[in-house]
Amino acid sequence: MPCEPYQDALVDAAASGAEPQGELRAHLAACPACRAAFVQEQSLFSTIDTSLHAAVNVEIPASLLPRVRASIAEEPAITRGWTPSWLALAGAAAMVVVFIAVYAGRHSSGGETPVPIATNTSSPAPNVLPPHDQNLNAAPPAVTNSVPTIRAAATRNPAPRNAVPEVLVPRDQEALLVSYSEQWSQRKRAPLVASNFDPTNLSLLQISPIQIDQLDVKLMTEEHAQ
């Protein structure tokens, strides 16, 4: 009886620890050599398992845990990652609030969009928040600072839930922006807004006269004659 086809199946059966099934079982029953080889394979796997078990399940040194505890005690306190990220989160939250306020204000004011104000300041025009709450008059103006590298600090006062969020404002634009915010909250039109400003602070728009060169008019008859 040829034994070669059963060699792999024999090893697999010994490795899995399961009883041989089907053809292999019949072959082992009929072939003493393969039966002996199968017993040898089972013995080999048993030896491997026993040796592995002995090698792996060793006693834990008594010094291990005290050593680890001592190392942990020497460790500096764990610095939690969320502490510095709060600042970034607060900044991001402020940006989101401003964005929502601008977006809501534009949509709630019946399509009215703020008209830019002519100023004599050289700094870029600030973004002005339209009102989104009736309590705006009592609240500080909500204006974003578009000027880079300006460091400003503000104290946070406990505000009611519906209050307009506080936003940092450059000092040189504070009065202008407060005034504009009030004008806007009263739904004033652009001319009214502009008229409330001190004209001395505003430079008149200088428009140079239109330059038109004198026309050289020739009669058609003269051209034909030439």
Binding site: A15, S51, L52, P61, V68, A77
Partner: protein, 197 residues
Amino acid sequence: MQELVLIQPGSTLRSESAREAAQSETRREFEERLAECGPLAYRVARSVLRNSADAEDVAQEALLRAYRSFDRLRDRNRFRAWLVRISFRIALDRLRSAKRRDQRDILWSQPAHHPPAATAEDLAASSEFQLHLDRALAELPEKLRLALLLAAMDGHTIDEISALLAIPVGTVKSRIFIARKQLAEKLRCHVNLIKTR
């Protein structure tokens, strides 16, 4: 870039005390897991390195790293699996660097090379077959080796190994099966030689 500074007066002291409380809570929680999982870290390291002193060093390092990162572990139930991986990885690194060091030593002092010192416990545990087994184990692919070692450890069922390694139960079974077969291939001749003596 515009810089905004938000100050919350009066909240500094409160947050400091809250932080200290959180740290002591973290330490307490880690301490609980240390007693439970410390032996696991040691056994994983020992099964890779076959040296008690090195295994202790590796287990200590793994536990210390685990402590440092414990705060960032969101699912604390994954601590055991996490620790097993850290310990296995550090042990493998140490084994490789030890091999490199040994090779360098052989090159530098060819005639007077001595094997690395082993403790009495290590010597007692190592028979001839055990040495062959160690070599055969070291030659196994990492994935197969870790599955087989965990299966050999007391108290690890196939389901637990599956959870520890985050792989399906069927994969664990096949890895253990293949690992045992590969070990048998390498050890068969040695077993026969030992028996015929």
